[in-house]
């Protein structure tokens, strides 16, 4: 269980809490838009911030999950929920900053999620997938709970979200295979994922859809 602790305990905890806080803000803001009450804001903040790691921990068999073992993980989303409750217009106004921090959380969680899955003995492909689940799963649960379906993650008209997580997770898996994952290289992997996400937002990168051919039966057979 050493590689999952990329950084000193203090640094790791601080980075985790930043990611959790920002993910919780996005959940809380959606709850306000959906007209939920303070309890609904808190639930959506918790589910968005901790849902991805919870899914990962259930799948790798790390029970009780970290979300239920670490009080800081639990209380941080409640603080975010209070911030949203009292200051949601201000938080919404700094949406660009929230998106930037969300991209940081994405970068961090895909790296730590991949590393933790590897620590529990999963293969590299499975670990990368679980890194993506860690980073993006909370947002899917958030969207499910308020009926925003298909969830933002799967909508073609949103900028790439999973791909940056897969990039960060793949780099992490390669670093693990090369016995080179550490604080510096792990941070670099997270920053690459962060950068890809920011570029996707800036340039509205989207994944291709299956084309719908015209009624003529002579459409191209392949692209």
């Amino acid at each position: 269980m050493t590689t999952s602790r990329l950084f000193s305990a203090d640094v790791q905890q601080t980075l985790d809490l930043i990611g959790i806080f920002v993910f919780a803000l996005s959940g809380g803001l959606l709850a306000v838009r959906k007209n939920l009450d303070i309890f609904g804001i808190a639930v959506l903040a918790e589910a968005t911030a901790l849902g991805g790691g919870l899914l990962r921990d259930l799948i790798i068999g790390a029970v009780p999950p970290a979300a239920f073992e670490n009080r800081g993980y639990f209380f941080t989303p409640l603080v975010a929920a209070l911030v949203v409750f009292f200051l949601h217009p201000e938080v919404a106004r700094i949406n660009n900053a929230v998106q930037t921090l969300d991209a940081l959380g994405l970068g961090l969680f895909c790296v730590t999620g991949t590393a933790k899955a590897h620590d529990y003995g999963l293969g590299s492909v499975a670990a990368v997938v679980l890194g993506m689940v860690t980073a993006a799963g909370g947002g899917v649960i958030r969207d499910l709970l308020v009926g925003e379906l298909p969830p933002s993650l799967l909508r073609w008209d949103r900028a790439l979200y999973a791909v940056p997580a897969l990039v960060g997770g793949t780099i992490t898996a390669l670093l693990i295979a090369a016995h080179s994952l550490g604080a510096v290289t792990g941070t670099a992997a997270a920053l690459v994922a962060f950068a890809v996400r920011m570029l996707a937002l800036r340039y509205e990168w989207r994944a291709p859809r299956a084309w719908h051919r015209g009624s003529a039966s002579s459409g191209p057979e392949d692209a």
Copy 2:
């Protein structure tokens, strides 16, 4: 594993089955309103009655979950589904009685859920949260399955549901900390949760929503 057995095995089993039966009725009635067939009624009855405990057991690592280990737990919702299938107008007509029994189930499950989570080594905050998950999780799964989103639990226009569960779970955690959880005190905790829920229904207690300030930028900064 002693505290989770608050009562004699017979009493505990009877109380559990009553709670399961009533939760199953609420699931079955929603299935009828949604025009589902007898199979859908059975699935919704099972999911509503057992879903909360199933989530709790997956999270604390109690596998296979009680829902799959105890045949009485499995067959009771099927009986409720048959009752709803043949007598749904009558069951709907005694909705007040169903709501009262549902409140009893809520009170019972938040106490036993908190106690079981504690037995599996979770901290007091996590145990209270899992008590709420036990009591309210089945209803969320029920609403997800029929597309009633956001689920009833999160809607501001419904009377408080989670708060009574949190009250009952908190009392239970305090009793555990004081080494005082037993049949009498556990029943008292369940009855307090029941009473809070009934008062919330009677007086339409609701949680506050984040206020939406007018267009004037000079709205109050805090409340």
Copy 3:
């Protein structure tokens, strides 16, 4: 862990991959209809093909789940996603063939799911339920993710889907109880489930709904 290996490892793996591939096609086709991008197609293909087995494995405590341990299980849905991406009009046109293969997957998965649950120590009723979860759970997750609610499984206007799975699982459980589950009898159980599903499709078998009595209070008390 012997009974779950009904067939030689090669045969079992081949049958599993066929079932996974066909379930993935159905997920991918729905993703195209919902206008999702290539990533959404891949996610829906994976979730539909592996979701049922994943739920089963979490419930019986088989972690990490087979979906994350077997690379063939993971890559097969990606191949199906590519097929759908490039050839979706052709795949949609052979929908009858897809439905037939889907019925084969249903038959196979309810048998292997029941056998695996039994291997992990669950009772016969629970094992049959988990066989159905294995066969039908992926489709429910697929429908949840795109907001097709209630899911196809629960809609009265769709031909029976769970009942064939329950039939196949029950035969499997009886074979296990008689110490007679093997390659031949297991295949027979899968074929019975397959046949029931095909008949349900052909003759549009549906489960009954609770009748809604007229306004007259003298409606029939039972049917």
